[in-house]
């Protein structure tokens, strides 16, 4: 055990955690909107729209996140046309490519979580709203969405933790996030166990925080 290395690498790894958290929060925020959008499409009665939303979530959940990042970062740059548009400003940055990939990935999982939450809402609640003369729009925004969010909290908590682990793949497209810096320190010092303990400890601490935050929210918004 090389305690000195653990102590000296801790601030470096902590600095890299900022990038991990940035990637995580950006993709989660965008991901919720993508997820909500596709969850609503999934509930649409039109078969074509329904199929499209299902296809999206099937493809993004059935392929590894690594492939998705590589397609976006290495693949899209190949299209000549894209290079001439303003999109290229975003797509040439590994940082934004990673966020796009994470957003689409977490969006697919979030849409599934929200869809099942919408479907488990008791029809009686919606009927009660209707019989009180509340418009469909308000029923959706003020009744269905809040209930669905509460229903999906436990599953979404898992998704946040999965996504936090997913951000480690940003290191494969040259980003120096927590895993990227950990790999760099390992490959220069050849002390994998020490670095693993420190970096893994930081990840575990974040998992712990997220887990407890979700538990707190579940309690706060419980129906009882």
């Amino acid at each position: 055990m090389d305690l000195d290395l653990m102590i000296t690498s801790f601030p470096k790894l902590l600095g890299a955690t900022v990038i991990t958290l940035k990637l995580l929060s950006a993709s989660l925020i965008f991901g919720i909107f993508v997820g909500l959008f596709f969850a609503i499409l999934r509930l649409n009665k039109n078969k074509l729209i329904n199929r499209f939303a299902y296809g999206y979530s099937y493809v993004f959940r059935g392929t590894p996140l690594l492939v998705q990042i590589f397609i976006i970062y290495f693949g899209l740059g190949q299209i000549e046309y894209l290079r001439s548009t303003f999109l290229w400003v975003i797509l040439k940055e590994p940082y934004w490519c990673a966020i796009i990939a994470f957003t689409l990935n977490t969006g697919a999982y979030t849409s599934e979580i929200l869809r099942s939450a919408f479907q488990t809402i008791k029809p009686g609640i919606i009927e009660a709203g209707k019989s009180l003369g509340i418009s469909n729009k308000i029923i959706f925004y003020k009744i269905q969405i809040p209930i669905a969010i509460r229903q999906s909290l436990p599953a979404y908590g898992n998704e946040i933790i999965l996504m936090m682990k997913g951000t480690s793949l940003a290191s494969t497209v040259t980003l120096m996030d927590l895993t990227g810096v950990a790999k760099y320190i390992i490959s220069t010092t050849f002390k994998p166990i020490e670095v693993f303990i420190v970096a893994g400890g930081i990840y575990l601490f974040m998992t712990f925080l997220i887990h407890n935050l979700i538990k707190y929210l579940e309690k706060k918004y419980s129906f009882q």
């Binding site: 492939v67 590589f70 190949q78 480690s168 790999k183 050849f190 893994g200 990840y203």
Partner: protein
């Protein structure tokens, strides 16, 4: 399409073998995972607090740390650890472990943590009366496990195990960082030499989709088989 021709001019055969490699690593990792689950599930269900702690430590750490970090630990630390053990026995030459073995063990340990949780949940959901009935009938612990617990547990565990399989299959793509030539690595090589990353990575995505689709079909059959009588 020319790029996918089998033989020297295309990448068809390379990608085909890479797909077989992905399947081989996934199955090996899944089996390694079962082995770990076999050790840690009893620990988690044990009535001794200290054993519980070991079991919980394993599943919490592995499920809370990114897969890539675990793979780096094994990739960089694996041969070091083996060489250290060998040095105790007086062997000081450099030992390099095969990327297949490192990868399978790394992914296997990850998959094992998920399998452990699945088995624990399945065993816990078996009615207590079943154990008591077995005890009353004087059935030994061993027979009790194989003839009573296991068949019921499998029925409950298969849907969740199919999730673990999907996770494991997708996690094998991460082994490409160690240089093992599976789908992802082969696509990387092909993309680099043809300068057509969009095509090859998209094709890799299709291969993964195909694998997940086919394995789901297969698992559904198993599910039907183990649910007979219900």
């Amino acid at each position: 399409m020319e790029l996918l021709v089998f033989g020297k001019t295309g990448w068809g055969d390379e990608l085909f073998y890479a797909t077989l490699m992905t399947i081989a690593v996934s199955i090996t990792a899944m089996l390694v995972g079962f082995f770990f689950a076999l050790i840690f599930t009893p620990l988690k269900l044990s009535k001794y607090k200290s054993l519980n702690l070991i079991g919980n430590f394993y599943t919490t750490v592995i499920r809370g740390v990114p897969e890539l970090l675990v793979i780096y630990l094994f990739f960089f630390g694996g041969s070091g650890a083996i060489m250290y053990v060998a040095s105790i026995f007086g062997y000081y030459e450099y030992i390099e472990i095969n990327a297949f073995i490192t990868g399978s063990i790394a992914i296997g340990i990850i998959s094992g943590a998920y399998s452990t949780e699945v088995f624990r949940g399945a065993i816990q959901s078996i009615d207590k009366g079943q154990f008591e009935a077995a005890k009353v009938l004087g059935i030994g612990k061993f027979t009790q496990f194989y003839k009573i617990v296991l068949p019921q547990m499998l029925r409950l565990a298969i849907p969740n195990l199919s999730n673990v399989w999907q996770i494991t299959l997708k996690d094998t793509s991460l082994i490409s960082v160690t240089g093992l030539v599976e789908i992802m690595r082969q696509s990387y090589i092909a993309a680099g030499s043809t300068r057509d990353p969009l095509f090859f990575y998209s094709f890799a995505a299709v291969l993964y989709l195909l694998l997940t689709y086919l394995s789901m079909k297969l698992i559904n059959r198993l599910e039907v088989k183990y649910s007979r009588g219900y």
